[in-house]
């Protein structure tokens, strides 16, 4: 599953690099940009999933340590209760890729 997710995100990053602006980046700087793009996309995912949570779900996680296993489990559980969240994430991520391509300054 995680491999599928990684492959999916990698395909988004590759799409960014296929744009004219990013195609000019020297090879030695690419890894740093990959990190920035991934960070940005992960932020989009997080924002999307939090925006989808109900008040009850927010109340459950609001006091959990943000980097804890319990928090991770709850995020996964709550995300799985939304059958259409995958489509929403896909839409948001596609939009994010388009935005990055148009405006790389978003990553700074």
């Amino acid at each position: 599953m995680d491999q599928k997710i990684t492959a999916y995100l990698n395909s988004l990053v590759a799409e960014v690099f296929s744009s004219p602006q990013f195609a000019q980046i020297p090879q030695e700087q690419k890894s740093a940009w990959v990190e920035k793009i991934n960070n940005y996309l992960n932020g989009v995912v997080i924002d999307t999933v939090i925006d989808s949570l109900t008040p009850e779900q927010i109340n459950v996680i609001k006091d959990l340590p943000p980097d804890s296993q319990e928090m991770e489990d709850k995020i996964e559980e709550f995300a799985s209760t939304q059958p259409l969240l995958a489509q929403d994430l896909e839409k948001q991520l596609n939009q994010a890729v388009a935005n990055i391509k148009q405006n790389p300054q978003l990553l700074s």
């Binding site: 599953m1 989808s52 008040p55």
Partner: protein, 519 residues
């Protein structure tokens, strides 16, 4: 172009179902609460929820039990099939609904392609469920995921849910949830959570994406259940009819292998623990000398010369190396009156040589405050040791050994030796030095070790020990000039390694030669 998040071709998703002019409304426009596609979808789904949900109510536990009783790959479909079979009403009722709304062509497109693939994913999800707590519910599609929403989607898909309709639904849901969150006063909490998650975006984003995919898979399973109910067949039959020939992905549970544990090689000192018997640790009887005598001793004492490691080391240092001679390290401690070194049981306790305990090393306070403890007898640091071999006075071999009492002689290691073994007045730095007592014990051990019966002549032992003490206190005891005395002395006073090296017939011969043991 990026792939679908599920790895599927987005073109397979139908996009214009609800807007099709040939499509009939689910329940008729006059019964819908709105006219938009989303309202229609919601209303249709809500009706499906009412029907299917009532039938499935209370079956979660049964689902889980059935799931647990089946092999992983078949569990999803077996469980669903049994539940569906146990609720025949659903087929009739829901089939009537779908007949009114769904064209067969569209039905096949949905379930035969995209959702068929997702069902395969669902099987994978069920497999994952065996190792993840989320998976069971998601893999089953019904038992755990928000049932109403799942079946809503199932119903929506059954009536031909378009991607546009899905997005509209999502938009409406977001607005609805956002308002609820705001009404609950949780908007700031939500913002804080977003900020907090920036600590480890990758981890939490991964969890969210996993959950989202599980949710989609579960939804697909729900759609399939609804479809099966529509058609009045069991999911397994449906599988055979529609998906047959598609090979299920092999489920490979992660192989867990314990890392080889390589303990770092720890070199322990020579410590023969199993052989150790704790000795009776008797503190030597200590009598403080009169204050006047102490003052006199202090006044007449020669300048302290720090020997290498005490009496044993000093005497050995003055000797030429032989096979039996042990050259102790600086940390070895020789303790006079050494019941602690040579126990009554005959098994030497570990000395500093075998257990290099920091306390065993010398401290400057040793001479200033003598106390009847091992620490008090600790020798001076080896760094101060002179080269003893060159300074040792030469004694002719088998020279006549003096047996007279020692009168406050400063030994090469700085210890003050005084008294006689004959009246048990021999002292080492003012403390009783039980050479004869220890010697008697250890000679018994020697006799036992060599299998030689015999009595010990106490007088001869006292005499020879006194002679040995005289030699030693003057730095003249060494294994070449006085080999027999050397052995008897160290048999009573040596470190454990020396003691062990003396438990042999050569030492016995020396004892016999000295008249200590009868032949």
């Amino acid at each position: 172009m990026s792939k679908d998040i599920l790895g599927l071709d987005p073109n397979l998703i139908p996009t214009s179902n609800l807007s099709s002019p040939t499509r009939e409304p689910l329940l008729g426009d006059d019964k819908l609460p709105g006219t938009s596609q989303s309202n229609r979808l919601l209303a249709g789904g809500r009706r499906v929820v009412e029907v299917v949900g009532s039938i499935l109510h209370g079956t979660e536990a049964k689902l889980a039990a059935v799931f647990d009783s089946h092999p992983v790959r078949e569990s999803l479909f077996s469980a669903i099939g049994r539940i569906t079979g146990s609720a025949p009403k659903s087929a009739t009722i829901v089939t009537e609904l779908v007949k009114r709304t769904t064209s067969k062509t569209m039905e096949k497109r949905i379930f035969g392609q995209r959702l068929g693939d997702m069902i395969v994913e669902g099987a994978t999800g069920a497999g994952l469920g065996t190792v993840g707590k989320v998976g069971l519910r998601v893999g089953l599609g019904i038992a755990g995921i928000g049932t109403s929403e799942l079946i809503l989607i199932g119903g929506g898909a059954a009536v031909g849910l378009s991607k546009a309709a899905i997005m509209e639904y999502l938009h409406q849901r977001k607005e609805f949830v956002a308002k609820e969150v705001e009404d609950a006063g949780l908007s700031e909490v939500k913002t804080e959570l977003k900020e907090a998650f920036r600590i480890n975006r990758r981890r939490m984003a991964g969890a969210a994406l996993r959950g989202a995919i599980f949710g989609a898979v579960g939804a697909a399973a729900g759609v399939a259940i609804t479809e099966m109910a529509f058609e009045g067949i069991s999911p397994w039959e449906w599988w055979e009819k529609n998906i047959s020939g598609i090979k299920l992905p092999e489920i490979h549970l992660p192989k867990i292998s314990m890392p080889e544990l390589h303990m770092p090689e720890v070199k322990l000192p020579e410590f023969h623990a199993p052989e150790i018997k704790l000795p009776e640790f008797k503190l030597p009887e200590f009598r403080w000398p009169p204050a006047a005598e102490q003052a006199q001793e202090a006044a007449t004492a020669s300048p302290v010369v720090h020997g290498p490691t005490g009496p044993v080391a000093m005497s050995e240092a003055s000797a030429a190396p032989t096979a039996e001679v042990h050259t102790p390290a600086a940390h070895e401690t020789v303790i006079p009156g050494a019941e602690t070194h040579v126990p009554a049981t005959g098994t030497p306790i570990p000395t500093a040589e075998t257990t290099p305990i920091p306390q065993a090393t010398a401290t400057p306070e040793v001479h200033a405050t003598p106390a009847p403890t091992a620490e008090a007898h600790a020798p001076a640091p080896a760094a101060e040791a002179p080269e003893p071999a060159a300074e040792a006075p030469a004694v002719p071999p088998h020279a006549e050994a003096p047996a007279h009492p020692i009168d406050h002689v400063t030994a090469p290691n700085g210890a003050i030796v005084s008294g006689s073994t004959f009246n048990d007045s021999l002292t080492y730095n003012g403390q009783p030095w039980h050479l004869v007592e220890n010697g008697t014990k250890n000679i018994h051990h020697l006799l036992s070790a060599t299998g030689q019966p015999g009595d010990i002549d106490s007088e001869a032992l006292s005499r020879n020990m006194q002679q040995a003490a005289n030699f030693w206190s003057h730095g003249q005891l060494n294994p070449q000039t006085n080999p027999d005395l050397y052995k008897v002395f160290h048999l009573s006073n040596g470190t454990s390694s020396i003691y062990n090296s003396l438990l042999n017939k050569n030492t016995l011969e020396s004892l016999i030669k000295l008249g200590i043991v009868a032949k």
